[in-house]
């Protein structure tokens, strides 16, 4: 036996250890994968041996390989074996491997419970520390439940090293096993005042994490934290506490008032930038929460802004970044104080660091006003030209649109300028999604601002004409979508509809959804043209237009895309009908003309029972209005409509006769589709294209050779006629938007401009640029289904799997329970916990005066019924009278006492508060009920 052991040891010496592995990998750079797979074999060999040190060696190597991305979960059992070694050295390797590769769902964890428990209770503090550290990485619900008591016991260990780790560990336990929070909370609270600063800091850390997600349950700890804040010198802990206060103040404005002074002192005194920054942040949070009623309110804001300016002006980029970040928080509530530093922020826009420029961009949002909007946008456009990388460009673009469109275009005085800017933007290069943004914005402006439609449509028509007649002109295709739609929808504003129609008919290859919009809007323009011609009896012209349209549409019908095909064929039919009808009328009218005198020229129209164009236009009548967000969601489902039920029983698909079926579907769906059009994704388009090609190939009924390619060719073969543009092409290349700026510079020289403006906004007739409130009406109303209101009530809340949801426990409820006998329903283990609570409760009581407890008990009995209601989760029910308010109020009194120590004022204050409470009790909100703190009833103080 001994011999065997010695032999094992000697063999072991020549095993590869971790260093050898690392060296080996470095020496085999060319065929690393092969080398590692060899090593894996070796490791598996080693794991098969009995010797634990051999195994631990193998596990150490596995841990390294895990970092390189190799899956080592297969060795889980071996890891546990090594963890169970009695030697610290080996154990360490095992626990490290476990913390790197285990996760809370692995079934192996079941095996570790007892081992870890033994380790936690080890005499050696490093062994239990090791177990705690490792466990924190993979604790599961089962482990948390089984070990929570052991970890709780460690909270009162004599060694601060263990206490510290156990405190942090408790947080992990709470996350996995929320039931542990309530019984453990008093102990955790004690740790806030632990003699060891490390433990204290850990406890603060844990409470901060807990309170961050459910702040209202931790309001009662405010006095403790306040004390810590004013006494501690540990910056790390101070930062945490101050951050925590930042989360608490929105819930309790009175706390904020208490905080201002010590925080201001800290701001003045501290030399640590990190602490200074967090103080400023919390002061900002306080100021936001108590937006008024503070005497030195303005002074605090001023102080913050000043300090932030110092940070931003610092040469350290980190401080600059954080300064801007904090500024943006102030901006939300106190835009004026930030606007004073416009120079600084614009300067940051020039910074070489992209992160800083992005932060400065955020601030620009608040800097704009009617006066400087054009100027700022101009600057951003210059940046856009210089910027490298689409991320920053995209951000710039979205910010330009954001600042221009904020508050329904509140700051825009000249919409012509804005349209021009958008068109210019459309010609730049962006990420793929940005075209859509610009397009949507163009459409939005035109829908909301009636006065600009005529200008915008002219502009869009021009874009379309230039786009289709030249090849050098680049523009984002999504903008063509908007252009086509606008020209079609507001066709009455078009100056030369024939010309635009001609241009639109010549579109080059565009994505499917854009092509379909083209087709649809060609039809709208067509309807308009038919109307004008018909009134003048120009039947020949109508027929000519019909023919040219039919030519184009015949090509589109052959398109590979269903959507395009479908719209084209629908249009074709409509045009066919019109053409037929017109031809008929033409012949009849020519007969009429022959029969009657020339003086009767206008008569035929009157004689006709109806105009064909009326029919046509009725297809597109009706104004489009902006629709409120979520309006679709709020449309009530009519009674008796079951959306899940089949309309038709699903038919089993058969491959052989798919063709007729498909065409059937086409016609059935066509009506609905043309209304609700969903943009297909790239993939879908590709798929459908492929499917279709495949079908065309295999279908004997299909005429081959008249496919896609031919259609495209036909498009190219259309003779390109030169257009007589009234605006030269090169103008579009220039920054046309600049002219609006120049106009601003000297208004007098812009008579020409003004007259043009007058023409466009004949009704508004405002000639001032921004001095006067512009008379341009921006539609702010939005359509909603009847009875629905615009609210965020149905907005999606935080992710449901957030473990903190389960931790939303009112920690102070059980405190009242101690005078009650445990209910019959309460099970044994709960009773045990109850005892623990009693114990800790007593400690808390010692702090209070004993005579108070008597009264408290009596009061509690009185409140018993109410408390029961509370615990049965009827918190939101409003309780009448002042009683439920009192604990809360007294809690704050406690705060007052500890913080202020000004006894004279106290009474007055409490009176004040009483009054406040009276007022508040009328409109008492459920929040207050829940925030009930520990407490000495206020009667004691009076």
């Amino acid at each position: 036996m001994a011999l065997k052991k010695v032999k094992g040891n000697i063999e072991r010496m020549f095993d590869k250890n971790l260093t050898d592995l690392v060296r080996g990998i470095r020496n085999n750079k060319e065929n690393e994968a092969k080398y590692i797979s060899e090593c894996m074999e070796g490791i598996k060999q080693e794991l098969r041996q009995d010797n634990l040190s051999v195994k631990s060696n193998a596990i150490a190597k596995l841990t390294y390989l895990q970092m390189l991305g190799y899956d080592v979960s297969w060795a889980g059992f071996n890891i546990i074996e090594v963890m169970s070694s009695s030697k610290f050295t080996l154990k360490r390797i095992g626990y490290l491997a476990a913390s790197q590769s285990f996760h809370c769902d692995s079934e192996l964890l079941m095996l570790t419970t007892n081992m870890i428990r033994k380790e936690l209770n080890s005499q050696n503090q490093y062994e239990s520390g090791l177990a705690l550290t490792s466990l924190s990485c993979y604790i599961s619900t089962d482990l948390a439940r089984d070990l929570s008591n052991d970890i709780l016991t460690l909270l009162s260990s004599t060694k601060p090293y263990i206490r510290k780790k156990a405190v942090l560990m408790m947080y992990k336990v709470f996350l996995k096993y929320p039931e542990a929070l309530r019984p453990a909370f008093p102990r955790l609270k004690e740790k806030l005042e632990d003699p060891d600063p490390g433990v204290q800091s850990a406890a603060v850390n844990v409470v901060c994490e807990l309170a961050r997600k459910n702040p209202k349950n931790y309001l009662s700890l405010a006095p403790v934290f306040f004390k810590l804040m004013t006494t501690s010198t540990n910056n790390w802990m101070l930062i945490k506490i101050i951050k925590l206060f930042g989360a608490l103040t929105p819930l309790e404005p009175r706390l904020g008032k208490k905080l201002i002074e010590p925080l201001t002192n800290l701001i003045h005194s501290t030399s640590a930038m990190s602490l200074l920054y967090e103080c400023i942040n919390t002061v900002i949070a306080v100021l936001i929460s108590i937006s008024s009623g503070m005497p030195n309110h303005a002074a605090s804001i001023q102080l913050c802004v000043q300090k932030l300016r110092i940070l931003i002006e610092d040469s350290d980029q980190n401080l600059k970044y954080l300064g801007l970040l904090a500024m943006s928080k102030i901006l939300k509530t106190h835009p004026k104080s930030v606007q004073a530093h416009k120079d600084l922020i614009l300067q940051c826009m020039e910074d070489k660091d992209e992160s800083i420029r992005l932060r400065a961009l955020d601030l620009l949002y608040g800097m704009v006003s009617k006066k400087n909007l054009m100027e700022i946008v101009k600057k951003l456009m210059v940046h856009m030209d210089k910027a490298e990388g689409t991320v920053y460009r995209d951000e710039l673009l979205s910010k330009i649109i954001l600042i221009c469109s904020q508050n329904n275009y509140q700051f825009i005085t000249n919409f012509e300028w804005y349209i021009t800017v958008l068109v210019e933007l459309a010609q730049m290069e962006f990420g793929s999604k940005q075209g859509h943004v610009i397009g949507a914005q163009l459409m939005d402006v035109c829908i909301r601002v009636q006065a600009i439609r005529s200008f915008a449509v002219t502009e869009m028509a021009q874009v379309l004409e230039i786009y289709t007649s030249t090849t050098q002109f680049t523009i984002m295709q999504e903008v063509l979508y908007a252009a086509a739609w606008l020209c079609g929808e507001f066709v009455s504003e078009l100056k030369k509809p024939e010309q635009t129609l001609e241009a639109m008919l010549k579109y080059k290859f565009v994505p499917q959804h854009i092509e379909s919009v083209f087709l649809q809007n060609i039809l709208k323009i067509f309807a308009h043209i038919v109307r004008t011609y018909e009134i003048d009896n120009r039947y020949d012209d109508i027929i000519r237009v019909c023919e040219s349209l039919t030519d184009k549409l015949n090509d589109s019908v052959k398109s590979g895309e269903l959507e395009v095909q479908e719209r084209a064929s629908t249009s074709l039919i409509v045009i066919g009908i019109v053409q037929e009808e017109i031809t008929a009328r033409k012949s009849s009218s020519s007969n009429n003309i022959m029969e009657t005198d020339s003086s009767m020229e206008s008569k035929p129209i009157n004689e006709q029972s109806y105009l064909i164009s009326d029919e046509l236009l009725s297809l597109f009548s009706g104004e489009l209005n902006p629709v409120a967000p979520k309006a679709q969601k709020k449309v009530p489902i009519p009674d008796g409509l079951d959306l899940d039920a089949w309309i038709n029983e699903p038919i089993e698909e058969s491959d052989t006769d798919s063709e007729p079926e498909m065409t059937e579907n086409l016609f059935v769906k066509s009506e609905r589709r043309s209304i609700v059009y969903q943009e297909p994704t790239e993939e879908e388009m590709k798929k459908s294209r492929e499917v279709r090609k495949y079908e065309q190939q295999n279908n004997p009924h299909y005429l081959k050779g008249v496919g896609n390619g031919a259609a495209e060719e036909a498009v190219e073969n259309i003779p390109v006629t030169e257009l007589n543009l009234n605006v030269p092409l090169k103008v579009l290349r220039q920054k046309r938007s600049d002219k609006y700026l120049n106009v601003n510079a000297d208004k007098k020289s812009s008579k020409k401009k003004k007259s043009k403006k007058k023409k466009h906004k004949s009704e508004s007739s405002s000639d001032g640029m921004f001095d006067k409130e512009p008379a341009i009406e921006v539609r702010r109303d939005m359509e909603l289904p009847e009875g629905a209101t615009l609210s965020d009530s149905d907005s999606d809340h935080a992710a449901k799997d957030d473990p903190h949801r389960a931790l939303d426990i009112d920690l102070h409820l059980p405190i009242y329970d101690y005078t009650q006998k445990p209910d019959n329903e309460v099970k044994e283990p709960k009773a045990k916990k109850e005892k623990e609570k009693k114990h800790t409760r007593k400690k808390v009581e010692k702090e209070n005066l004993t005579e108070q407890t008597e009264k408290l008990k009596r009061k509690n009995r009185e409140n018993e019924t109410e408390n029961k209601e509370k615990s049965s989760k009827k918190k939101s029910e409003k309780l009448k009278g002042k009683k439920p308010k009192q604990p809360k109020e007294s809690n704050l009194l406690e705060l007052d006492e500890e913080i202020g120590g000004v006894k004279k004022e106290k009474k007055e204050k409490s009176k004040d508060k009483k009054e406040k409470v009276k007022v508040k009790s009328k409109k008492s909100s459920s929040d207050y009920e829940e925030a009930v703190g520990i407490s000495t009833p206020s009667k004691e103080f009076q």
Binding site: N9, R12, N17, L18, T19, D20, V22, R23, R26, N27, A60, T63, Q66, M67, L68, G69, Y70, D71, V72, K87, F88, T89, R92, I93, L96, Q100, H103, C104, Y126, T133, S136, C137, Y138, Y161, K164, K165, L168, M169, Y171, G198, S201, A202, V206, E209, W236, I239, K240, K243, M273, S274, Y277, E278, Q317, N318, K320, Y321, L322, D353, S355, I356
Partner: protein, 191 residues
């Protein structure tokens, strides 16, 4: 909370990875890769905060990093951590490494990644900051190293001897011995 701590070199090779939230191995590699791409393209004179890692975190999370010579130290943290505080923590971590390894360099991290883990475990536990006081951290590390040494005792002597021999890196030395270029030598032989 700290969600992950990554150390990689200027070429993106991981030197230490510690995730406080579970990710499968391939995902971990992707995260390291993405983080490296984000961090490495930044100049040294820009700020040390980064938003927008898509794989890890989300909007609440930030990358806070420092670049030392050949190594990047990256912490992925949520909004409950103070940005400047974490920068200090990275500094403490690196200084501790420096004390433990005596002038730490990338090689130390390569060959002693386990030790680096043990050191890190004294600073951060389960994503929460455990200790920031360097003397305290160093004492704890010292104590544990002592424990290991005690256990090793005499029994480990032979193993140590072997590892000393191994560390001499004989294969490499053999490789490094310069022999005259044989084919050339043969060519030079003239009959």
């Amino acid at each position: 909370m700290i969600k992950a701590i990554l150390v990689f070199n200027n070429h993106g090779k991981p030197r230490l990875s510690k995730f406080y939230q579970y990710f499968a191995e391939d995902m971990q590699q992707q995260i390291i890769k993405e983080t490296f791409q984000l961090v490495s393209k930044r100049d040294d004179n820009v700020c040390n905060f980064l938003e927008g890692g898509s794989l890890i975190g989300g909007s609440d999370y930030k990358l806070i990093y420092r670049h030392y010579a050949t190594l990047y130290f990256v912490f992925c943290v949520d909004s409950s951590e103070s940005e400047l505080g974490i920068l200090d923590l990275i500094q403490v971590f690196v200084e501790t490494l420096d004390k433990c390894f005596e002038n730490v360099c990338e090689l130390d991290l390569i060959f002693h990644v386990d030790k680096v883990h043990y050191i890190l475990n004294e600073l951060v536990m389960g994503g929460m900051v455990l200790e920031t006081n360097m003397t305290e951290i160093l004492t704890r590390i010292e104590d544990q190293n002592k424990l290991e040494k005690q256990e090793a005792g005499i029994a480990a002597a032979p193993a140590r001897a072997v590892s000393a021999v191994k560390n001499m890196n004989i294969p490499q030395q053999i490789k490094d011995i310069k022999l005259p270029d044989l084919p050339q030598a043969i060519k030079d032989l003239k009959f």
